[in-house]
Amino acid sequence: MPTIFIDNLPYEVKEGKNLLETCLSLGFDLPYFCWHPAMGSVGACRQCAVKIFKDENDSTGRIMMSCMEAVKEGLRLSIADPTARAFRKQNIEWLMTNHPHDCPVCDEGGSCHLQDMTVMTGHDYRRYTFKKRTHVNQYLGPLLNHEMNRCIQCYRCVRFYREYAGGTDLNVFGAHHHVYFGREKDGVLESPFSGNLAEVCPTGVFTDKTLKQHYTRKWDLTSAPSICQHCSMGCNIIAGERYGKLRCIVNRYNSDVNGYFICDKGRYGYEFVNSVSRIAEPLIRNQPVEAVNETALMRHLEGLVTQFPLVGIGSPRASMESNFALMELVGKENFFQGTNDDQAYLERRMVEMLQQDGLPGVSLKAIENADAVLILGEDIWNTAPMMALAVRQSVMKTAADQAVQQSSLANWHDAAIKELVQDKKGFLANITVADAPLNKLATISAQDCPDNIARLGFAIAQVLHPVLPPVSGIPENDLQKIQLIATALQKAERPVIITGSSSCSETVIKAAYNIVQSLRATGKDAGISFVFPECNSMGLALMNVPSLENALERIRTNSDCTVIVLENDIFRHIVPEKADMFLSRCKHLVVMDSLHNRTTEKAHVLIPSATFAEADGTLVNNEGRAQHYYQVYMPFNPHIKESWKWLDKIKKLKTPSAGRSALHPDECLAELESVLPQFENITGVMPSHQFRINGQSIPREPHRYSGRTAMRAHIAVSEAKPLQDGDSPLTYTMEGYPGIPPESLTPFFWSPGWNSGQAVNKYQQETGGALRNENPGVMLFKHNKDHIGKFITDYPDPFTPIPGKYLLLPQHQLFGSEEMSAYSETLSELIPDMVIALSGNDAKTLGVTDGAMIAIEKNEFSYPLPLKIRNDLKSGIVLVPAGYQAMPYFPWGSWVKLRV
């Protein structure tokens, strides 16, 4: 480790870093704008100036940009040097000559990096008396507000949008001090990562438009660490509340999972929490007054749970705590997964592969660092957006690493590396059912039917591991592809294979399995990542209970049951006729949920559940990483409770003498661990609810939180005692431990002088690295390096279309397919139209053209949709958007008829 001297004091620092990140890692305050830990340095803003000296006798030194200088043994620099300081101050003064007088009405204010840096450099008085340059703004869609006057030309936005996230419709226009950052003309930003601009831009040019509708400053938010609920990636987020409404979601750094960014579904999907269709009171239907209070509800439920056998339906979007509480209430033999047979089976298979066959599941970080990626049958752009972003980083980084090896450049030298790389790319093979956005990046891409994708995969595995039986009948033009992919995987040091359940095909998953095992058999450190459909699908699958169809069977044989459905719209999991039959046969149907849906409509008893923002809970993400989310605020409405709390109360009705039952989430998890050993160590996701630091809890509110004695004064002027939930070490006040709390308990990033999200620097062991005392979640799978499970040799036959029939497959859409985010008003504007897609050939055979209404039919199921011809599709497949709110569950993965 080299030693450098900063203001004449020696420090041992890490090699290969630039001086800016080194100084920040050491805890110095050094202003910067254009450098970003995830994007490297370009030296554009001239803000990070320091003085560098030749040797200890040099007293003149020269001013250099610290972000562009590498650490060298014995290097001497000064941050405090008066000329360096004056330079930095002058730089801000220049930036400010054109900066508008906007702070009071700027949404960035209070979490503005420019404000922080201005204060840090000491610039406080405007001397420039000339006029300011101004810009007109653009309409950029419902997600981001644009206020171009505030731009300081740091170029972070375009570097993120174009280079990091691969977007094309944001750019820089104009010349000299007229440069303009925006779109060619007004229009909705296309990238699903555009929301990150609100955090990447150090000023208020790009701000969260949904926050603007109920604007609150960062210092006024009650925040808690949370986990995104909108896909299986489990990105870490911070959710903020004010006056009983959820106000915004921002990224929470986790070095293993989402790093510095989240996708737009995660950032803007939160609006469902504030939705008007929230279930507000317990209802007992079919009586004169349906809305009841808790006492009446409990009295009613007492009869239902004591006199009838119970059946419980779990949910892939409910927390571990809630699913487990339901299982405890109804008994394991009466507890069913809320997903259908096919889905449950696929998920079970993926879990087994990770659990028993030693497949090494990898994190998003590991995907970023992979040097070859193969995707089989999963459109991750739409089903796991942050994984797509990670794959993009892998492709870019691999190319950059190769370029860097031939030169002496450090890997943070962003602009120089981009020059060197040009448009070279790392290896990505994307084999999907339909054309996918990631194909732009792919070395090899292909579209085929699931069985053919699987055959391709098996053939790749066979090339990698020739002892496997060959796959017969592979078409000539695929052979070359197979060879190329196999060679690339073989050459790579850290190949990753990605697949998932969205192609509804077990064979695809098996093929991915064979490839990873083949690579491992040849001594490669290969990884796999399975994409699951929902935020806790993995957790539910790990519970290993029968599927929804089994519950149906149970009800068919004994309809005299009380069925409790936990946070689950079963119309999303089975076809309507089956769902209707199921619900109508329940003697008593108790449904707990947060929003009204088709299942809650049918409920006899409806119980209002808390959403993630009002609840504590644990989710297991796609790699088997358990992570805890904390309650952000207690709902004003006393009827709204966490499902596991309701279930706990109901359990007391059934067995009043049941002794101690778990009251806090950490106790629930401890019980879960003792009952289901596959969840071993899950208690490690959170400290005990009694955990305190020097006897102090951790405040959810910053110390500048305002309005404490006025917010509720219109209701009652005497202030009530601060709320207490007691479920976690977090409190609902601004008093408590003022320092940096343990990582998983970080309610917001703030540090003196660092009000914006950039304060995360101070929470990291080194910039861009792990957080101090990082607890990136508990991994539930123990990867056994030496165990390589059996190979699979029952290859599927090639796909042969059945005349008159079509294989129905889901097209997942980033916005619209996931249940809860579709309730977000803002995102609902961006949901693509409902269409049914067929190949050109099939359309010709049917004699139809674009826009024709075609009904999908199977048994009694029939659903008409307008046609869209897609030439990327193989004949014999029909593709329909999955999971749209108004649409029923389709019999995915089965053969259907089409009626014109």
């Binding site: 508008p100 906007d102 006057n149 004064a713």
Partner: protein
């Protein structure tokens, strides 16, 4: 005793309040009001700075916007039973909206009546600082002036031009 006797001939300090009113100066820090700008629009832009500055946290508000993007408080509440009339809010206010005025006669029998809402706070005057309209000097276009039309602004940039 002699001293006490002498005081009989001094000018009296006691004021016969309430018959006789106290003489207060313009900068006296009493009841808080929200003022209007010269054009009669609400001056407060809902920036939350007064609330943040308040040492007893007795100001609560919610910002909202009209169709032109002009920001104003949806509600604005001061709990005068907590207010210590320190004037920090006035000092923090970037728009001269919130001002302390020379009036202390706010006694109430019921503490709840000391909770003032925006309707109670808003006055139809510019108060101590006439002539200032924040939206005229800010960079945003909130329906008061267009982009590049402020006194201190150059016309909006034409990004298609390469001229210096």
């Amino acid at each position: 005793m002699w001293l006490v006797f002498l005081h009989l001939f001094h000018k009296r300090e006691t004021i016969q309040y309430p018959e006789e009113k106290v003489k207060l100066f313009p900068r006296w820090r009493g009841r808080i009001v929200l003022t209007k700008d010269p054009d009669g629009g609400e001056r407060c832009v809902g920036c939350y700075l007064c609330a943040a500055a308040c040492p007893v946290d007795c100001i609560a508000l919610q910002a909202t916007e009209d169709e032109n993007g002009r920001r104003y408080p949806e509600f604005f509440r001061i709990n005068f039973s907590r207010c210590i009339f320190c004037g920090f809010c006035e000092e923090a206010c970037p728009t001269y909206a919130i001002q302390l005025i020379p009036d202390f006669e706010m006694g109430e029998y019921n503490r709840q009546n000391l909770v003032f809402e925006k309707e109670d706070l808003l006055i139809n005057s510019e108060g101590k600082y006439p002539g200032y309209n924040f939206y005229k000097v800010a960079g945003i276009d909130a329906g008061i002036k267009g982009k590049g039309q402020g006194e201190n602004e150059l016309p909006a940039v034409d990004t298609k031009s390469l001229l210096p």
